[in-house]
């Protein structure tokens, strides 16, 4: 299903729509919450937050404005916000002081990459796409979602060994491709 159809489906048939949206963006929300909350959030917290993110998508389906950004951007923003809210709540409840800044604020390296110009990002996206499938998915899942080779293999129907080899080759290709583009 085309991503642009997801919101239409959500409005037309909320149950099927939210399932399709969770399938499309669930991993993204999980990753964002994990990254934002760090170790300060336990597994159950993270699951609740992700569920909360999609609950909010579900109930605000008629108010979502596609012209103001992509659904992926909305899910990322909402995931960050929900994770931060949860961290704040935990702090207020008088537990141990949580390393909120460490968990939420970008690291110096993140800050450096955050200013990566749009053209550079587009070059990276093009280079990843140019890897072709399944290598593009392997690289993305490995270095964006931080999934293990075994997890990726399970998802793509490949052996762990095959994923490892393909990833190594793809990385080299990506390295060359980005170097040439500089």
């Amino acid at each position: 299903m085309d991503r642009s159809d997801l919101l239409a489906l959500l409005r037309l048939d909320p149950e099927k729509g939210i399932e399709a949206i969770i399938r499309a963006y669930g991993a993204l929300a999980q990753k964002t919450v994990r990254q934002t909350g760090g170790d300060a959030l336990c597994e159950e917290d993270r699951e609740e937050i992700v569920s909360d993110v999609f609950y909010r998508v579900y109930v605000s389906r008629d108010r979502l404005d596609e012209s103001k950004g992509t659904l992926a951007s909305y899910v990322i923003t909402l995931s960050r916000r929900c994770a931060i809210d949860r961290l704040r709540t935990k702090t207020r409840r008088g537990g141990e002081a949580l390393p909120l800044e460490d968990a939420v604020l970008p690291s110096p390296e993140d800050a450096e990459t955050a200013v990566l110009k749009k053209e550079a990002r587009q070059r990276l996206v093009s280079a990843v796409i140019a890897l072709g499938e399944p290598d593009a998915t392997i690289v993305f899942r490995r270095f964006y979602f931080a999934q293990s080779y075994a997890e990726i293999g399970l998802k793509l129907g490949l052996t762990e060994n095959a994923v490892t080899k393909r990833c190594r080759r793809a990385l080299e290709k990506l390295r060359r491709s980005l170097r040439e583009g500089e």
């Binding site: 149950e15 399938r23 993140d110 450096e112 990002r121 270095f143 964006y144 399970l154 990385l171």
Partner: protein, 319 residues
């Protein structure tokens, strides 16, 4: 120096728009089916608690799924499209595993592994794929001769069943039950299907047209035992296309739409990005000498491609 850490940092800088570009280009960022189901159920329950969705709807979901499946089957059967008719193996047989190993060899000819095959043998593949939380194995191909006591929906099928079957097993990686229905042995809870495909032909032809309608079989038989789902897929009438290559699609729906399976540049069937629950497409190791071009032409000329007009693909062999 372009290191893995650097790449990781670069990728983290991508925004939502970049991610949409990647997914539009076919990069798979989707969640696995188990996570999707778990989160969906959780969200809907949350919505129900807060008065956003009627509870009755959730409770009826499983029942509805079973009814939907039954309805699809009824429609397909009534319209003469035998492809999705499901048979159950008889419960009075011993475990199906034993049927694989053909200890009950009266009705089955044993197949042999590829490296042991001699002329005339039908061979096994034993290929395994782990995908979306399932382990799917093409166990092999068996020849059933005069297979008795087959039941359909609990009703005894008169006569014997003979044919060539691709045998697939499916298990959940978390060890959970493979059926979603109440009755472990009932197909109504199954959400996994399989279809043989002729390489180079569009999938609607494969699924709906090429299946022979006069055969009592030509279908998938399901059976579950100890959380293992066994699929016996009749490929008898596909054997005449052995020279073109045969594939077997296994998917997490009872039936797929034609747009979910396409062909790669070599004409080999592949799942498209529209596939709702792709599991695996296996190449079937059939003996090319079984090809029968005359029979192919006959089948193509005679079969009523009943659903071809209503599906996106038309009858367009690539070779």
């Amino acid at each position: 120096m372009f290191t893995e850490n650097k790449l990781e940092a670069l990728l983290q800088s991508l925004d939502g728009e970049d991610l949409e570009t990647l997914t539009a280009a076919g990069v798979d960022v989707s969640a696995d089916e188990k996570t999707t189901r778990r989160l969906t159920e959780r969200v809907l329950r949350q919505a129900e608690r807060k008065g956003e969705v009627p509870m009755e709807k959730i409770q009826n979901k499983k029942r509805f799924t079973a009814i939907l499946v039954a309805a699809i089957l009824l429609v397909l059967t009534a319209t003469g499209v035998g492809a999705a008719r499901l048979f159950r193996l008889p419960l009075d047989y011993e475990k199906v595993e034993e049927q694989f190993s053909l200890k009950l060899s009266d009705n089955f000819k044993r197949v042999v592994r590829e490296d042991e095959a001699e002329d005339g043998d039908i061979i096994v593949a034993n290929k395994t794929v782990n995908v979306n939380g399932y382990t799917v194995t093409l166990e092999g191909i068996i020849q059933a001769d005069n297979y008795r006591n087959v039941t359909i929906d609990g009703e005894h099928l008169e006569g014997d069943v003979s044919g060539t079957y691709a045998v697939v097993t499916v298990t959940r990686d978390d060890g959970g039950p493979i059926w979603y229905g109440d009755d472990e042995k009932s197909f109504t809870g199954a959400t996994i299907g399989a279809a043989p495909l002729v390489n180079g032909y569009k999938p609607n032809i494969n699924t709906y047209g090429m299946m022979t309608l006069e055969r009592e079989t030509g279908i998938t038989m399901h059976y579950a035992e100890e959380n293992v789902l066994y699929l016996f897929v009749d490929i008898t009438d596909f054997l005449c296309f052995a020279d073109k290559g045969l594939s077997l699609a296994v998917y997490g729906n009872m039936i797929y739409t034609a747009e979910e399976i396409g062909l790669d540049e070599n004409g080999v069937p592949v799942f498209t990005d529209k596939a709702r629950a792709p599991l695996a497409i296996f190449g079937l190791p059939v003996d090319k000498s079984l090809a029968d071009p005359a029979r192919q032409a006959e089948l193509i000329a005679e079969r009523p491609f009943v659903l071809a007009e209503s599906l996106p693909y038309t009858f367009t062999p690539t070779d």
